[in-house]
């Protein structure tokens, strides 16, 4: 009986998974990320970017690799922002679709469990904004097939703490964070360590749970501690809500955040409450280098790109460079080629360190919200 079931299941999966022939002039590139769930905004943005770039390459006649011109096919799957789905999708991309490389995902928790599958299939992955150090390095060993184009949590936390202490002259800070979110817990940890190392004091360390919409109990407590800055390392929906509620409670402290902030939604929802706040970002939106991509994206999709688009853009650039360097559309060769690669991306110079597979020395940009605009302040590198 069981055998029949297994067979039936296999048939169903075959039927569902058909399509995409084995044209030897076509290189398949995978993408995964959230197209449903509360991270879907970013997932859609990433996939759009990746598709757009490869369409542009195709329209330009493809890319020459090892003396042969290749066209690209992008295969993107939804992982619902879920680790288990990421594993399924990675198996599908590497096993069934036979992609040579994968772009994404944006969440660290989704990227980490991909590693053994990538190693087995010998397919490299370039994560976009997965900032947990353990995405590429585990127990001091670099994972051979995991790469990324963004800076990592300890760095971002150090930048935020350093900027708050040195540039904003903050001596006391409060932290509000999402206890059930890995990204938020990571930033909080490294912010605290670095801020205290500098000589500052954490006067309140409060948390909430994913899905919460009311932060006033925690904020009332923070208000009583009267900090100079409040560090809010989480995503823009909660940032807007908590900023509004903080202002309602009469909290005037400067708000400080990370790369979960930038979004049109933050401005439209947060309004006056986030005015004058600072956050750590991967790039300066006004940088001349990013303008071309921004306008191409807007022209094609009729809306502004989110932050993820820029990093997905650079991930594609890094992949293409790696592919050219490898000289053949082969995952193992590309992974080798990616080590030590040096590419000028729109978010900065990306030099993938062979030891960590991270873009070493990539500066962070500090942005300030002024009149509903993200105004670049300075490039800031933590010591």
């Amino acid at each position: 009986m069981k055998k029949v079931l297994f067979a039936a299941l296999a048939v169903a999966l075959v039927l569902a998974g058909c399509g995409g022939g084995g044209d030897s002039n076509v290189i398949k590139v995978g993408w995964l990320g959230a197209l449903t769930g509360d991270q879907a905004v970013w997932g859609e943005n990433e996939l759009n970017t990746v598709k757009m770039l490869f369409e542009e390459y195709n329209a330009a006649g493809g890319i020459e690799v090892g003396g042969k011109k290749y066209q690209f096919e992008v295969i993107g799957y939804d992982n619902k922002g879920d680790a288990q789905e990421s594993v399924n999708v990675t198996k599908r991309l590497t096993g069934q679709d036979k992609v040579v490389a994968i772009i994404g995902p944006n969440a660290s928790g989704n990227a980490i469990p991909m590693a053994p599958i990538l190693e087995q299939a010998k397919v490299p992955d370039i994560a976009t904004v997965a900032t947990n150090p353990k995405v590429t390095v585990q127990d001091g060993k670099v994972k051979p097939y995991n790469f990324r184009v963004c800076f990592i949590d300890p760095y971002q936390g150090a930048v935020a703490a350093g900027f708050a202490y040195d540039k904003l002259n903050a001596r006391t800070a409060a932290v509000l964070y999402d206890v059930s979110d890995d990204y938020s817990q990571g930033l909080r940890e490294f912010f605290k360590i670095n801020f205290e190392k500098k000589g500052g004091t954490i006067v309140a360390d409060e948390s909430f749970n994913s899905g919460d919409v009311d932060f006033r109990p925690q904020l009332s407590k923070i208000k009583a501690a009267n900090p100079d800055v409040i560090f809010m390392p989480y995503f823009f929906k909660e940032v807007a809500l908590s900023a509004n509620q903080a202002r309602d409670l009469g909290i005037n402290a400067t708000l400080l955040g990370g790369d979960g902030w930038p979004s049109d939604q933050l401005i439209s929802m947060g309004g006056k409450a986030v005015e004058g706040s600072y956050f750590v970002n991967h790039l300066d939106y006004a940088d001349p280098a990013v303008q071309d991509f921004k306008s191409r994206y807007k022209a094609k999709y009729g809306k502004e790109t989110e932050l993820n688009g820029f990093l997905a853009h650079d991930a594609v650039l890094v992949f293409v460079e790696g592919l050219k360097k490898a000289g053949k559309p082969n995952g193992e060769a590309i992974a080798k080629a990616l080590e030590g690669i040096d590419v000028q991306g729109i978010t900065g110079r990306i030099h993938i360190s062979p030891e960590t597979h991270n873009p070493e020395g990539k500066d962070a940009a500090i942005l300030k919200i002024v009149n509903g605009q993200y105004i670049f302040q300075e490039k800031y590198a933590a010591q």
């Binding site: 879907a40 859609e44 109990p217 807007a240 309602d248 939604q265 439209s268």
Partner: protein, 292 residues
Amino acid sequence: MVQFLQQLINGLSIGSVYALMAVGYSLVYSIMNFSNFAHGGVIMLGAYFGFFGLTLLKLPFAVAFLLASFGTLLVAIIVERIAYKPLRERKAPFLYFIISAMGASILLENLVIATIGPTFRTYPEVFPKTPIELGPLAIGRLDLIIFVISAVSLSFLIFFIDKTKLGKAIQAASYNVKACALMGVNTDKVILTVFGLGGFLAGIAGVFFGMKYTVYPQIGNITTKSFIAAVFGGLGSLPGAVLGSVLLGIIETFVAGYLSSQFRDLIAFVILIAVLVLRPTGIMGKVTEDKA
């Protein structure tokens, strides 16, 4: 002292949102004896109806508000017809209702994601957002308005149930649906009314939730808390639902404010379980002795 009062205000404000949601749960529970998990989805739709009424159709607030409430009334009835009525006719056990409700909840949430999109939306400012300041205390204007309208709609509901013929039938049915049917009460009509009322309240809750916070497809998830509040107060009891919600709001706030925000939900769950152990049917739940 100031912090204590402020936290009390915070707690009441959170509790009042739970209450609007919990009443809908309790109402359906009192008749059908199952937890209608689709209620969260209906509340979410209410928030969207109100949002689009205000932004797309540019309706005045009162009209958009009514549009949302009647819209969700309709949705609740449609859900009942499709997902529960066939089960009722089969006399299926309560498990099936719950699973069907979960299916409806998954369906509604993802239908919105697929059609309207996953992005968050912000209500236009209908009431000024600046809080009323009483010395160092801040009370949200919207909170006061929510409080008043909730009180009015809940009293309307209690009036309806106590004074009208249909309301009396609902009361009778909540004691014994079968006996009611034998005595010539049209139970189908009673059940539709209950879902309609629950849906109407869901619309109100949705609009207020959207105004107070924001609109997004996963609003339904937060209703887990209001479900807990309803259980806490005693399922099937309307005053219990309100009391449970306010208590849960205050407990959560005080735990976060004075004990630990890290363990807020944990402590809230511990208290919930303690209440259930001491009073197995919640604070004001109907006690049904198993008659031998």
